[in-house]
Amino acid sequence: MSDPLHDDRGNRDRSITNPAGQGSPLPGYHGTAKPAPGGPFLIGDAMTGGYGRGADILHSCTIAVERGEIAVIVGPNGAGKSTAMKAVFGMLDLREGAVRLDGEDISRLSPQDRVKKGMGFVPQTSNIFTSMSVEENLEMGAFIREDDISGTMAQVYDLFPILKEKRRQPAGELSGGQRQQVAVGRALMTKPKVLMLDEPTAGVSPIVMDELFDRIIEVARTGIPILMVEQNARQALEIADKGYVLVQGRNAHTGTGKELLADPEVRQSFLGG
């Protein structure tokens, strides 16, 4: 972050400068989708790229998920897990590689268009509209939908009953775990064909974590493929159909959750012994 436009030096006066919710730099994708039949349901294929003009962070890294599956990405900090997710979602420049969804090449689509194509994404941090009520958060999730959304909202509410109680409350007043539920709910409102979660359980107490995992499994059972990043690798890999271990932007190990859990090297260096 060395360049002047970004370091927030000498910016005490929040009354004249309001960084709240300022987004991150984006590539200017404006392309269209091309048919590319075959392959898994969603795949980021041999992706190479980085942020803006910065150095590459991903090096021909591949991530895929099939219908009804849960795929989990683990790896050390700064490995590029979140970056990989963003790449799949078109939030950073791919120098090489492609992203394909449901038999279409969507590498050149802008994030908005990918949402329209049916991708739902829950980022690692700041993943709710804190100043808006829970219900409005869900409505925003359904922003691109023209049809009637009450049905989906009902589904989300019985998936996360607590949200129904707090629907009028500003989401910012909820506790960590509840926020995560709102975030997932928001993503579900788009009726996504695939759901991507970045560390949904970070800083969440064990009880809420278990809760969340159960919910995620439920969602997967409804046939929505799920691609998620996790630091609680053990627990995550237990429920994963497929697991990826990223190291410095490269695929280090790939296999089913069980295999990876069994692999002593993986345990040693990523799951903390």
Binding site: D7, N77, S175, G176, A202, I207, Q231
Partner: protein, 258 residues
Amino acid sequence: MIRVDNLHRHFGGFRAVDGASLEIATGSITGLVGPNGAGKSTLFNCIAGALPPTSGTVTMDGEDITGLAPHELFHKGLLRTFQIAHEFSSMTCRENLMMVPGAQSGETLWNAWFRRSAIRDQEAELLKKANEVLDFLTISHLKDERAGNLSGGQKKLLELGRTMMVDAKIVFLDEVGAGVNRTLLNTIGDAIRRLNEERGYTFCVIEHDMDFIGKLCDPVIVMAEGKVLSTGTIDEIKADERVIEAYLGTGLKNKETA
């Protein structure tokens, strides 16, 4: 070492900390756990002077330190790290460490202008110390890297390093582990233990990872809804029904059996 008596902190009508009382024994590594929104960070902030408590007292070695400003507490040897790393992003790792020690004569303008030589010697010492610390944390290869470019875990290490630049009495760590890779977390754990043994630091650690807490901490304090729910060794805690029901949940047991 630290004693908190019936501490309250309210935000508007909301009671984030609601009459918490606890003690941190000298030389211990005390764990502080509890559900999200239990008030752990808020409690920390109150002790460390970042937030004024609504009521209640905090004493350190019998001396009342309630509501003192952070920098005053710092000079009493009470240090803290943050739930989200607070590095000085545009400064190098080394500078991050060198700026820490208080009472640097070079920090008064007068000396900066008219007593350069005295400052020079002092700087030399700081430099030496900073390098030691970087070695200790196994990140000396990053000494001239801008702190802003470190990855999540390394930032946390740097924060820990800052506490080593001075002889702290007690250090508060807020969620060192959140989003940190487990292997790295173990390294941090070792660092903490060494500081505790070699330098006699007292620690108080917030963490949601029970394995980490289990390996490191004794005793463990559980907070819920702004109150202290129970205190004891990790095993006592894991056995405590109220804790399981409020915080751990049954999932943990299942996993251990699995």
